[in-house]
């Protein structure tokens, strides 16, 4: 076959005639900017242009592209493309970036057909392209920006990305240096920051670049950030998280900016002090007469100056001077200011960012794993004859997690997988449906058997008996998947020197080393981890075992380490391995006195614990049968209640659980914020007044509550058929949310507007904070409205792709307003902060609107949300 791709004619073997164009582009033509997301046409991560029109290359068999012009992200060019990419860059649209080659091509196709689309047209056109980070509001704005720019006729030109700096394994000498593991300055003036925190969309690379440039007095635009790992040296792990004893490198729990705020500023201040010392030495001038600004050191009395790049080699040889101090915040030029553009945006827009799916090394084979259709089942027998007969398939390898098919390309492996015949042994399988599992949660909630007391203050029973007003309500929440746009992948290679290299977008590199070394039978330090960019994670990539890393290493070992192996997850297979947000059932029995003051709170939780699969964390977070990752938000509410009891029951099933964006708070705040609203209504109190009263000891939370109330005009009348709901939270920072909804003639609820007020400490990059809050709100909205994993009769997994696991698309995005409170307190993380309050704010709004209190998620089980 002859194809025309990006204007060039290319020959493709006829055996690929029926292969999806996606895989031919990626694996035959080695153009990896086009991404795999679902394999079924639901997500459009694989968007390319065919004769100018956006199509899904996973649904286009290659022979159907013959005679047509295929344009991929690598070849797209021209004024419309430039305008779109420039608007994307300047609008800080990109987060994880995995869907953005597809999004931008869809936008190009839209603007080529309609130069000034309105919101409705944009929503309709773009709703095929999923984004789990929730960048939709910015995509919509960027399309308008691009349309406006095109109408002026000014071409911004094609954006270019400098080459990605390589991360070299640290020498012992470098590891012992206070600066070198974190910052190196090159002769050309490039400042390379080595990030212990994986960039998975949350923007930490840009955050670190900002604080490094600030303390270094460098130009922000000269800072390049790369993912780093393998920091273990004579002084422990230089990339270990200081808030967790510095022993363990990990990204998560919204800890990156909070945990690295001091380390990277100090390293930059020390690097600056060295540059000053180098200049002082070179110019024989006193160090205190040397000033630095925008990457240049100056000595005014002598008129001498040099760039940081010119001073770097000399500076690196010097000891860090004693007494290096951090900048006075009143001198900040970058921190807290608007205007920073994401450092990772351009490569992501151009499709050149390396995700795990894009890793290639010579001789690498691709593997797909067929997992059992029921959790806990295992392969009883495998008939691999037909699979091995498929062209390109080289091996079928039974592994702990299922059966792997190894092949030259993913498309070959996919055909092999379809031909595989496996009988499953259900001896240890979870055979209950989700309806049965929920019933069992409720039974345990009712019986209280095995309940452990997490906290017990005052006398709850007496206070409830004395209460003038009470609420006794049960709330339930389903299992939820992360479903990031890049399914979870890993690659590995055993080098001749006995070092096992692993490429993976992991939040927990230490787990990767433990996992890979134990399977390979080598020392942990013989594993070298390459942290790739992750096409979203949201907690999913925090695994310690039975994940793509363990699958890849088992397969490579079974093939005698002869081949580098890349395990790619198909969307259905990723759903089949679980690692969901736990199902949860809560009962809240709360009371208020005759004046409506909150006097008693008794909460019970039944959920499968989250921390059991997280080595180290479980040792401190799962004690006395109480899992802190389950009870977070319930055991430590922002509200002061004299009589308080929390009990928690650990549910048991075969369904693997994993931390999921906002962890326990994703369910505990639904119960807490719904119940307090119910109590306010029962006692005839205004929900804001009641909260303000019990938040008296938390003035920052009160401030957020009052700001949200003010901006959303809380208390002012709304037109008929509209209502508001409010929540407040001290999760990570201090926030409050007001959601406005309306009811249509058929009793269906439309989410019109979300107002979110936030104090997250110092606002390092306000626009990136807003972007994370927006994304978190949309994440929470999709989950609350429609999200649930369903197991059918006998435990068969029903939910396997985006058609049965609906997530927010462009057309469902409400008006979102984020109001940031400036603060001199240290910054907290913002990636998860807005998620927990979405569901209860919506429940409270629906109750205000309809009088119906919905206590079961998703809402779609009870009422239609659109």
């Amino acid at each position: 076959m002859k194809l025309t791709v990006n204007g060039l004619e290319v020959d493709v073997d006829d055996r690929h005639a029926n292969t999806p164009l996606l895989w031919v582009l990626r694996e035959v033509l080695d153009m990896r900017g086009t991404k795999f997301g679902c394999g079924a046409g639901f997500c459009a991560a694989c968007t390319v242009l065919i004769d100018g029109r956006n199509v899904k290359s996973c649904q286009t068999v290659t022979e159907r592209a013959v005679g047509k012009g295929v344009t991929t992200v690598e070849g797209a060019s021209g004024p419309v493309v430039n305008a779109v990419r420039d608007a994307w860059h300047r609008g800080n649209v990109v987060q994880c970036g995995y869907c953005q080659p597809g999004q931008t091509l869809a936008a190009v196709s839209l603007l080529a057909s309609d130069p000034s689309p309105d919101d409705a047209k944009i929503d309709q056109w773009m709703s095929g392209n999923l984004c789990r980070c929730g960048t939709y509001p910015r995509i919509r704005a960027a399309i308008h920006e691009a349309a406006e720019a095109l109408s002026t006729g000014i071409d911004p030109g094609a954006p270019t990305a400098p080459a990605e700096p390589e991360f070299q394994r640290l020498t012992a000498q470098d590891a012992a240096d206070p600066v070198h593991p974190y910052i190196r300055i090159r002769e050309d003036g490039t400042i390379v920051a080595y990030s212990s925190q994986i960039e998975m969309g949350q923007g930490i690379h840009t955050g670190l670049a900002t604080i490094v440039a600030e303390e270094l007095d460098a130009e922000f635009e000269r800072v390049r950030v790369v993912n780093a790992a393998n920091g273990r040296g004579p002084n422990g792990d230089v990339y270990g998280n200081p808030e967790f004893g510095s022993a363990f490198q990990f990204t998560g729990a919204s800890n990156s900016m909070k945990g690295m705020w001091l380390r990277y500023r100090l390293a930059a201040a020390q690097a600056r002090a060295r540059l000053v010392a180098a200049a002082a030495q070179a110019w024989e001038a006193p160090a205190d007469e040397i000033e630095t600004e925008n990457g240049v050191a100056r000595h005014a009395p002598s008129g001498r100056q040099a760039t940081f790049g010119e001073l770097a080699a000399r500076a690196e040889q010097l000891a860090v001077p004693d007494g290096v101090e951090l900048k006075d915040p009143t001198d900040y030029k970058l921190i807290g200011r608007e205007g920073r553009l994401r450092v990772d945006a351009v490569p992501k827009i151009l499709g050149t960012t390396q995700y795990t799916i894009d890793v290639t090394v010579p001789g690498m084979l691709s593997a797909l794993v067929l997992h059992p259709p029921r959790f806990g089942a295992s392969a009883a027998s495998v008939d691999d004859k037909a699979a091995l007969a498929e062209p390109g398939v080289s091996a079928v390898v039974p592994i702990e997690e299922g059966v792997a098919v190894v092949a030259e390309t993913v498309a070959d492996a996919q055909r092999g997988l379809k031909a595989l015949v496996v009988e499953w042994d259900d001896t240890n399988a979870e055979r209950r449906s989700t309806d049965e599992l929920l019933a069992e949660h409720l039974r345990l909630l009712q019986s209280g058997e095995n309940a452990a007391t997490a906290r017990d203050d005052g006398n709850v029973d007496a206070a409830l008996a004395d209460a003038a007003w009470t609420v006794d309500a049960t709330y339930t929440l389903p299992y939820l998947a992360h479903a990031p746009m890049e399914p979870n992948n890993a690659a590995c290679r055993m080098r001749e020197d006995g070092v096992l290299e692993v490429w993976v977008g992991s939040e927990t590199p230490e787990y990767v080393k433990m996992n890979a070394s134990s399977i390979a039978g080598i020392d942990k330090e013989q594993v070298e981890v390459h942290i790739t960019y992750a096409g979203g994670s949201f907690g999913l990539h925090s695994t310690a075992e039975h994940d793509p890393t363990s699958e890849a290493v088992q397969i490579a070992r079974a093939l005698d380490w002869q081949h580098p192996i890349k395990v790619q997850s198909l969307r259905e297979e990723e759903f089949k391995v679980g690692r969901y947000r736990a199902m949860a059932a809560h009962r809240v029995h709360a009371g208020a006195d005759s004046e409506g003051r909150l006097t008693a709170w008794h909460q019970q939780i039944v959920a499968e614990p989250t921390s059991v699969d997280l080595p180290f964390f479980r040792d401190v977070l799962f004690t006395n049968d109480v899992d802190r990752l389950t009870t977070s938000g319930a055991v430590d509410p922002p509200y002061a209640v004299e009589n308080f009891r929390l009990e928690s029951t650990d549910f048991e099933s075969r369904i693997p659980i994993m931390v999921w964006r906002s962890i326990g708070n994703s369910h505990t705040e639904f119960a807490r914020e719904s119940a307090i609203d119910e109590l306010a209504i029962a006692a005839g109190r205004d929900p804001v007044d009641l909260r303000r009263e019990v938040l008296a000891a938390s003035p920052r939370t009160v401030h957020a509550l009052e700001l949200a109330a003010e901006r959303a005009d809380w208390g002012s009348p709304l037109p008929e058929g509209r209502a508001r709901g409010i929540t407040s939270s001290a999760f990570l920072g201090h926030s409050a949310q007001i959601t406005e909804v309306s009811l249509d003639a058929r009793g269906r609820v439309h989410v019109d507007r979300i107002v979110f007020a936030l104090d997250c400490g110092r606002n390092v990059n306000p626009d990136l904070i807003r972007a994370q809050v927006e994304g978190g709100l949309l994440w929470g909205l999709g989950a609350a409205a429609w999200g649930e994993i369903r197991l059918g009769e006998g435990g068969d997994l029903v939910t396997q792709n985006f058609d049965t696991y609906p997530v927010v698309r462009m057309r469902s995005v409400p008006q979102i307003e984020v109001h940031l409170i400036d603060s001199a307190e240290p910054p907290t993380g913002v990636g998860e902060i807005s998620v927990p309050s979405v569901a209860p704010a919506l429940a409270n709004a629906i109750a205000a609107l309809t009088g119906t209190r919905i206590r079961e998620l998703p809402f779609s089980k009870t009422i239609k949300i659109y």
Binding site: A40, G41, Q59, S812
Partner: protein
Amino acid sequence: MPDVTITPSEDGPYIVSGAVTLVAPDGHVIEHRDPMSMCRCGQSSNKPFCDGTHIAIDFDGTLAN
């Protein structure tokens, strides 16, 4: 008589099961699963198949009789 069943699901897609050949306007045969979910709300971005969008829009799939 071919053994094909078409079920309009509640406010959702047509579920089509049985041996069906799906042909595009230009004559090419579209591969599909069995059963398959076919868009009924008109808003799928993956026509002729369902992409789950019906749940998120103002779609009324009530049957006429």
